[in-house]
Amino acid sequence: MSRVAITGLGLVCALGNTVSQCWKRLAAGESRILPLSDPGNPPYRFTRGGEAWEFRPADFFSERELLMLDRFAQFAVMAAREAVAQSGLRFEGALADRSAVVTGSSVGGQFSQEEGYRKLYRENIPRVGPLTIPRVMANAGASRIASEFGIRGPGYTVSTACSSSNHALGQAFWMVRGGQATVAVAGGSEAVFAEGLLRAWESMRVVSPDVCRPFSADRKGLSLGEGAGMLVLENWEHAAARGAEILGEIVGFGMSSDAYHITQPSVDGPSNCMKWALRDAGMAPEQVGYINAHGTGTQINDQTETEAIRGVFGPSAGRLLVSSTKSMHGHTLGAAGGIEAVATVLTLRNSLVPPTANFTSPDPACDLDVVANRARAAEIEAAMSNTFAFGGLNASVVFARPDRPAPRQNQPG
């Protein structure tokens, strides 16, 4: 088994178009859940969201490229470009065949889907554009990333609602660790601010009327967000041999299913998920210093996640720092794991924990140190990032600082 280095990061979301822009705002605790650019007519029950405010497609893609790319795929490609550029990798020869692309997306090309439906059902034009199918397919981002960089190994997309990206990242991690791939570009993207999808979220009544306030007593639901987070995962020896800067390490991945309810979370499912991730990492709970929580800001999620964390981490839960960066970029659904993975790697790297923004008052049912409103300096060896999806499908990824001592189970022999 190989250690898995992270050698590239890419991010686009409400916080900015690059990793460095986004990190500045994460570190400052600046929430970018702002009034919607289109409040709906009649207005949606919610008024704010985490749109990728600074993203102008024409700044990054030619008109010809945009013909083929729905917004969610644009995000995926943009984040992958940043991550691959940082890694300095070129996918040539044998490396191209030994490299993978694994992405996550919950709904795929929703904008293109709705555009087709608008013509068909509203305008009564029974002609839907011939590019609709390749724009809508959930793997459009993965396919474009593969072709843009000439990555010829495994390529696929995982769709497990809000866990999509963590499942993608975890699968890619296991491929690199197990030797099936030398490099993997992994993460996910989502574009949610399409009217049909917003109306569906509206009627579920889980979106906060103003901003999400994860772990606060007065939390009223989640805030939707959009964007992408991508990571370049690389066989450790391969990265070291070429002198690449190693930004972090993925050390463990766990998955579980609640086998319970289609939308209500359980405590057991997330608990098992975190336990499997720790076991996969070969780590004791006390080695983890930070959790980037699923922390959606719904009453039930934050309460059950707290209970699950307390159960898994036992006495060390009292020393854990736990924050939900969704309070700043929103819940990006299928992109959540990717975006929050990048935030978690940056947390370890900068020894600074981004806060839970919009926090007002503590909830006894969420009695963890949620790093309210202000980032906190902390030297942390390892961190976990959680995603718990509708449908009860859970995925947790464990990250470590690259300068920690090599773990025993990865020593030769």
Binding site: R45, S203, M204, R205, P209, K220, H261, I262, T263, Q264
Partner: protein
Amino acid sequence: MSDECDVNELGRRVIRVIAQTQRIPPDQISLDSTFEELKIDSLDGINIVFALESEFGIAIPDDGVQNMRSVRETVAGVERLLRQKNVAAPPGAA
């Protein structure tokens, strides 16, 4: 007063909506049934609220949803909203 404000008729309509939404026979639902007895969980509740909004042309606020835990509470909530609607726009005023 319209029929909508007659509790018996209103009760029957609410029960019909719940029965249709939950795919259960209306005769298994009474005014005294709780959502728990009817095995209606929070997601089912949201689905019922959505159907009631369509049936009665009302908008049920989020805190109203949390107070609907039985058929009787639901009927009372709908009745209150219908009364507000009729005050805002008396019958015939449209």
